[in-house]
């Protein structure tokens, strides 16, 4: 549905994105992840034909974003960052305007406006001026206008920013409900959001693609070792030494102490080797108190941080 090939965009001397290529299948929800200023918004703006790339091409629904921009825009719903809207209009007038601009017939307009207002839960504010609405409602109005015209592709730049937790869940449900019928690209820096709503994740940093995969694959792929957190009551240096010689343990890292004689360690071992029993035995053998012992999973957050910092080290 969306094919991006070696997209680059430079603003003067600044390279916003460089050589970005990816493909999004029809009906897929793709998460776009990256720290601030990584090039998420730039990529989205290029895909929505707001601005052309410096080099590279992209096709949306089979149409070239540069040469067939109007065709692309007809098949696209876009929620820009911070949901800019015409604040001097009531919600329903604005949606009518959006529907007219998108070329819907009068009958379709009425039907679809009712539909999207229901979907986004803005029916009860439909006669209020957009300028008077709270951030959460504005965000939903922005989503509603994007859904008008039943576009094949939705591009959402941080769609859940500024919403309260309940609204976030609603919007996520709504986006998830679109899976299969619509192709969605959503950018965010809220990591759990990605693992909850997206089938695939793209991590972008400093304008370059760092990783493209499913959230599960990303976490397992990067998990080269399994990690344990151990909290022991005993002398720190000796504990570290003793744990280091347990068979199967690769590294032991002290991770801060605690009140009194308590020491916390992160133990890394081979991926498929369970060393918990041996670690427990070693601690008990020395007559130290074993206060805590639990596996630490690599979260998407760790993956993200790891990828982003790795990138930094390699470029530095």
């Amino acid at each position: 549905m969306i094919e991006v090939e070696q997209l680059s965009k430079t603003y003067g001397p600044i390279k916003a994105i460089e050589d970005v290529s990816f493909v999004v299948e029809k009906g897929e929800i793709l998460g776009f992840l990256g720290p601030n200023g990584a090039g998420k918004t730039t990529t989205m703006r290029i895909l929505t034909c707001f601005m052309p790339p410096t080099s590279g091409t992209a096709r949306v629904a089979g149409y070239d974003i540069f040469n067939e921009s109007l065709q692309v825009r007809r098949r696209l719903g876009y929620v820009p960052e911070n949901a800019p809207l015409y604040t001097d209009m009531p919600v329903v007038s604005f949606l009518k305007f959006a529907a007219e601009v998108k070329g819907l017939s009068r009958r379709e307009r009425l039907r679809q406006i009712g539909q999207v207002m229901d979907d986004c839960g803005i029916k009860d504010v439909q006669h209020r001026y957009i300028g008077k609405l709270s951030k959460g409602y504005r965000q939903r109005v922005a989503l509603a206008q994007a859904l008008l015209g039943n576009p094949d592709v939705l591009i959402l730049d941080e769609p859940t920013i500024g919403l309260d937790p309940r609204q976030i869940i609603d919007i996520r449900q709504l986006i998830k409900g679109l899976a299969g019928q619509k192709t969605v690209i959503l950018s965010t820096h809220i990591l759990p959001e990605v693992s909850m709503t997206c089938q695939r994740v793209i991590i972008i940093n400093r304008g370059r693609l760092v990783a493209v995969d499913t959230p599960e694959n990303l976490t397992t792929k990067l998990q080269t070792s399994s990690r344990l957190l151990v909290r022991v009551e005993g002398p720190a240096t000796e504990v570290v030494r003793a744990l280091g010689v347990v068979s199967g343990v690769q590294t032991v890292k002290e991770d801060g102490g605690g009140p009194g004689q308590v020491v916390t360690c992160i133990i890394e071992s081979k991926k498929d080797r369970d060393v918990r029993k041996d670690v427990a035995a070693a601690v008990v053998h020395q007559n130290w108190g074993l206060l805590e012992l639990r596996p630490v999973d690599l979260t998407l957050e760790d993956v993200f941080v790891r990828l982003v910092t790795e990138e930094k080290e390699s470029t530095a």
Binding site: K9, F50, P84, L85, D88, M89, F97, E100, V101, K102
Partner: protein, 256 residues
């Protein structure tokens, strides 16, 4: 061009939802009313004098004496007031970020530019139509010639349209409305006074300078002369400005 109408309606609505259109109209009409009163009072004064001087009375003409100076003054007032109407056209959308929404809708840039221009022109036309009370008053109490009145209005319409096109261009250059107003006011003023130096600039350049002057071309309309040279000048000016506006919008896309 199907997207022209919704944008046109939205723009027109924006003028009347905010106080801009009302404030500008009230100011314009107040000043126009004052000019009408003063030129009428002056004509009245001359009229009394003419009672004792039949030679003078023969040259008295209510169209020439009241409406022509009125139209001339309105042209100058427009120069001050029009930037206030045009400054928001693109600058506001850029500031609020809604330009991103508008330009990612299936809308041709040309349709957006024309719709915005037309909406502002519509507000101006309403404003201009409201000044018709003055010639109507004259028609009730005197016998002015209708031809020059209509020609004068055509002239004001073309002049205003040219001003709006320049204002739209200025507005597309910046995201700050004050800057947009300052640019368009400066250029309008410049295109007005550029004709003044024609008197000492020598025949070649002087002719060119006076030909460039926006108000110079307006002069003949209230006399009842519709010269194609003047009409074409305004249309040229207008098309050129709108063309540049379109380019400026495109370059905004390129630069991001």
């Amino acid at each position: 061009m199907s997207s022209f109408w919704p944008i046109f309606k939205r723009e027109l609505r924006a003028y009347f939802v905010s106080p801009i259109a009302y404030v500008v109209m009230v100011m314009f009409l107040t000043i126009a009313g004052y000019f009408f009163y003063s030129s009428f009072a002056f004509f009245n004064f001359i009229g009394f004098q003419a009672m004792s001087n039949p030679m003078m009375a023969r040259n008295l003409n209510v169209t020439e004496g009241v409406l022509r100076p009125l139209y001339g003054n309105l042209g100058v007032v427009l120069l001050f007031i029009m930037p206030l109407l045009t400054m928001r056209l693109f600058a506001e959308e850029k500031k609020q970020g809604t330009i991103e929404l508008l330009l990612t809708y299936p809308v041709r840039d040309l349709a957006a530019v024309l719709a915005k221009f037309a909406a502002c022109l519509a507000v101006y036309t309403v404003m201009l139509a409201l000044t018709a009370v003055y010639p109507v008053l004259l028609i009730i109490f005197a016998q002015p010639e209708v031809g020059p009145i209509l020609a004068g209005y055509l002239g004001l319409f073309l002049l205003g349209a040219a001003f709006i096109a320049l204002g739209a261009l200025a507005s597309s250059l910046t995201e700050n409305q004050i800057v947009a107003a300052a640019i368009s006011f400066g250029f309008l003023l410049f295109f007005w006074v550029i004709g003044w130096s024609s008197q000492f600039a020598g025949s070649g350049i002087g002719g060119l300078l006076s030909h460039l002057s926006l108000l110079e071309h307006f002069d003949s309309f209230p006399k009842g002369i519709i010269d194609t040279k003047d009409v074409i000048f305004y249309l040229n000016f207008l098309v050129f400005c709108l063309f540049l506006t379109l380019r400026s919008l495109e370059s905004h896309r390129w630069r991001g």
